[in-house]
Subunit: 290 residues, 2 copies
């Protein structure tokens, strides 16, 4: 168990990554907003599979929060985060400040037009632009060969894959499976903001998605029908504040009519002030149309 | 005199740059749209000052041309360009195709909001977004330590400097002085599209800027007065199709009232179908206000 090197300034991070590159070490980046949980730790394990050096960035990026979103109340605990990282053999924790990462006349943005309009993009305008901009900065500061993102934020991972391809980064984007609590709730730093009652109900989001999955396994091929089943379940059992329930193509993230190829069932809800998202990927093997 | 390695695909370029980096060689990139002239060659010389390996990219980037601009008529001569490069000891000529550089569902853009609104940004909406997007792709494909741009496109160079800083590329952006024909006309690939008559008149753009410079040296400190002198000279002697004549702060590119710090005098005109730009930088030593 050794403490990761704590790096605050982008210049120092750049220098360290560059020296690792000179030594022909393979670098993996795990970008996070901190308040680490087992989901993050699974990303680190995934990173360890292919890289010799692991950087975990911790930065609550103001650019990806809307004016009425939870930037201020987003849970933070840097000391505990660093302790966690030392248990997992992380080499560097990159923890820039808002001031050193965004200079006063910062004026550049990176935007992916495709893939960002529906799903979370609908209720969070500007969110993905904030994500792709900060991930660009992290890529350039940390020079990774590999970057690992979680499947829970599936749309985000797909947007970053597209950006990486479009802008020619030689970085392998890996998507690690969602890690869940024992009751099925997808791990998320935001779960810490749920009340006890909300927390006990929250697994019904995943339960709703599973209900849809079961219907598909049973042979239902109408995306609309699946969507309605999930929507009704969540509305009756969890909350009326449903942002979306969608059955989409896994690659294009576009709505489909008939389920006949790899798809994602995705949903987002609000439990008072906390926004929760979750998804299930359904692979093609058993999805041939009758 | 040895021929540069001709590289067509981004993957191959990436691989070569990466092997140079592994060998701890210092890479300079000179991005061009081809139809090389002595202005470009001076950029290559500048690159040679600090780097062991020089990549010249040749790519007429459709993204930075507006729908009514001269993408189709932009002069091209790849064979002559490659011959020129071999004379200057360039290591690699990166010549991607539109198809291999922009995949069919390409959907990412890089945008600098500041610095891009006035000057050439006014008459060429979307131009700088096209430039910053393609330069991002070139940076990621060629992994340069240094990139050299020409002063003739001063606004472009400043926008790229800002982008590089904002997005944390560890790349030194160098700006090389404008190279001129014997009669003062700034070298530009577009000069090839001038008629004989237009070509003989074209140096009056620079002459107008010089007139402004002389007035400043003589003590005039009103930016508006300088602008008027240049504007009138160009209108009377060259063309009425003046896009702009501006006296701006060298760093912010904003209009100024009183000339008291480093400034740029910049102008853009149209000679029938050809757009010409030019500028003069005036440094501070002799610019104290009276």
């Amino acid at each position: 168990m050794s403490k990761p090197e704590i790096i605050i300034t982008p210049d120092k991070m750049c220098l360290l990554a560059s020296s690792w590159r000179s030594d022909r070490l393979k670098i993996a980046l795990v970008p996070t907003m901190g308040f680490l949980h087992e989901g993050h730790l699974s990303l680190i394990k995934k990173a360890r599979e292919t890289a010799n050096r692991i950087i975990v960035s911790i930065f609550v990026n103001p650019l990806q929060f809307g004016p009425n979103e939870d930037f201020d109340s987003y849970p933070r605990n840097i000391e505990r985060d660093i302790f966690q990282l030392s248990k997992y053999g992380v080499d560097a924790a990159f923890i820039p400040t808002i001031q050193n990462f965004y200079s006063p006349n910062f004026s550049t943005s990176v935007d992916v037009n495709d893939l960002t309009q529906g799903l979370c993009g609908t209720d969070r305008p500007g969110h993905f632009k904030g994500v792709t901009t900060v991930v660009t900065k992290l890529f350039n500061t940390c020079s990774p060969h590999v970057a690992v993102f979680g499947q829970k934020d599936f749309q985000q991972a797909m947007v970053i894959k597209r950006m990486t391809r479009d802008l020619n980064w030689n970085i392998d984007i890996k998507i690690a499976p969602t890690v869940r609590e024992h009751d099925g709730l997808a791990m998320s730093s935001r779960n810490a903001n749920l009340t006890t009652l909300e927390r006990s109900n929250a697994p019904k989001l995943y339960k709703g998605l599973c209900k849809g999955q079961t219907e598909i396994t049973n042979g239902v091929r109408s995306a609309k029908k699946i969507q309605q089943i999930i929507y009704c379940f969540i509305k009756e059992n969890l909350t009326e504040q449903i942002e979306y329930v969608e059955v989409i193509d896994k690659e294009t993230l576009e709505r489909i009519d008939t389920i006949s190829r790899p798809i994602v069932i995705a949903a987002a809800v609000r439990l008072s002030k906390t926004r929760l998202i979750d998804n299930i990927i359904l692979s093609p093997s058993n999805l041939s149309t009758s």
